[in-house]
């Protein structure tokens, strides 16, 4: 039986840990709410863009001209591509980073097997550390995307990707991040952002009554601007999704850590009571034994 003192020490340590995890859970909950608000607000922009796109493509098809844009075009041979891995800056968020990095690693291995050059860009300290440990070279790394990525920051990246893609230096851009599906479901995914596969989303395709718009300038010229804007919105959404998912993952991880600590405190306390009891018993029997010897 362990000493009662030692058990108390352990009990205190577990209690301290519980305090920390509980606080982190609350902080993550607050941050999640903020991130979620931001994501919903940003969704309005994406929705509106795809609405305009579908308005435009409706009229464009009528004129019989399929629209092409450098960003929509699949390059004939896929050679060089970029993989952007979005991870978190901080740890203690369960399997959040692990899931993203595992997928990214799969993609890297595949590129290696196909002998295609692949540049890796990482956002988040966790990912940077991982690739350093794995001795995989990364071309760029960012740590400034915290839980509130701003559009301006993402815009810088987006512009560079667009420029690289249009000039033909890269043929594909993949983003590996955690997609936010519902409150209780987030999935790590790899998505191909360039070339843009389809501009319209499923929901925007079934538009209501058709409206005759006046276009200033021509639909074609508007689309030319709209395609990059749509790409930027998508990239931005990746970052927002990742931020929301990170907070959820941390919330869940910290919740189970707190529960676990509670459980542990209970067992340790039972252990302590037993130890204390047996200590008293042995002391008593010593005293009785001593008294008996004196008689």
């Amino acid at each position: 039986m362990a000493k009662a003192r030692a058990i108390i020490k352990r009990l205190k340590a577990v209690r301290n840990v519980r305090k920390i995890t509980r606080t982190m859970e609350l902080v993550a909950t607050a941050r999640f709410k903020k991130a979620m608000d931001r994501a919903t607000q940003a969704a309005a922009y994406t929705r509106k863009i795809s609405e305009i796109v579908s308005d435009l493509s409706n009229t464009d098809q009528e004129k019989g001209g399929a629209f092409t844009h450098p960003l929509l075009q699949q390059h004939p041979a896929e050679k060089k591509s970029i993989l952007l891995v979005i991870t978190s800056n901080r740890g203690l968020c369960g399997g959040y980073n692990g899931g993203v990095l595992r997928l990214a690693q799969g993609r890297i291995r595949q590129a290696k097997a196909d002998q295609l050059p692949l540049e890796i860009e990482v956002s988040g300290k966790r990912g940077i550390g991982f690739f350093k440990f794995q001795k995989i070279e990364t071309t760029a790394s960012y740590t400034h995307f915290e839980d509130k990525p701003s559009f301006e920051e993402v815009d810088v990246l987006a512009r560079r990707f667009v420029q690289l893609f249009v000039s033909g230096e890269i043929d594909r851009l993949d983003v590996s991040y955690t997609k936010f599906e519902t409150m209780s479901r987030q999935k790590s995914v790899i998505e191909t952002l360039l070339p843009i596969g389809k501009l319209t989303t499923a929901e925007s395709e079934k538009t209501g009554p058709k409206v005759e718009y006046e276009f200033l300038p021509s639909p074609r010229e508007i689309l030319e601007e709209l395609v990059p804007a749509s790409f930027k919105a998508r990239l931005y959404k990746c970052f927002l999704d990742a931020a929301v998912s990170e907070q959820i993952a941390r919330m869940v991880a910290m919740k189970s850590a707190t529960d676990n600590a509670d459980e542990m405190i209970r067992t340790i306390r039972a252990q302590y009571n037993r130890a204390r009891q047996s200590q008293i018993t042995s002391e008593l029997s010593e005293i009785i034994g001593g008294a008996a010897a004196l008689e």
Binding site: A44, D155, F215, E221, K232
Partner: protein, 136 residues
């Protein structure tokens, strides 16, 4: 059209919905010049330029600086999608001046750089104008 605010103006930036309010009339820059919108306009989709968005409502006139994007007019709803929208009062002339000086000092060598420089220069000038106007 005096009296009622018959248009609904929605200004959306990638980060959030900035405005969603009834207005009487508004004026904003398209790619080639300013356009004014009054209630009852036919549907329109257009590319925005850089410059001032002027809103006239029952509560008074307000002004924003917007930077590129798209406009959609459908029925009585006007939606502006823009990369950036800043209330004119919050633009400081000193900052705009600094930006302009920076752009002017830039040396453009290729065609793309020249266009980029021109665009930036125009943006800085418009910002400066707006800042001076709203502060005076």
């Amino acid at each position: 059209m005096a009296g009622g605010d018959k248009l609904r103006l929605i200004v959306v930036t990638p980060e959030r919905t900035l405005l969603d309010e009834p207005v009487a009339a508004l004026r904003f820059p398209l790619y080639d010049g300013d356009i004014g919108i009054l209630p009852g306009r036919i549907p329109l989709v257009g590319r925005l330029g850089t410059g001032e968005l002027r809103i006239t409502a029952a509560a008074g006139a307000t002004s924003y600086f917007i930077d590129g994007g798209f406009a959609q007019v459908l029925g009585s709803t006007v939606t502006l999608l823009t990369n950036r929208a800043v209330p004119s009062k919050e633009i400081s002339a000193a900052d705009a001046e600094k930006q302009l000086a920076e752009v002017l000092a830039r040396v453009a060598k290729t065609d793309e750089e020249t266009t980029a420089k021109q665009v930036d220069q125009q943006r800085a000038r418009k910002m400066l104008n707006l800042a001076q106007k709203s502060n005076s």
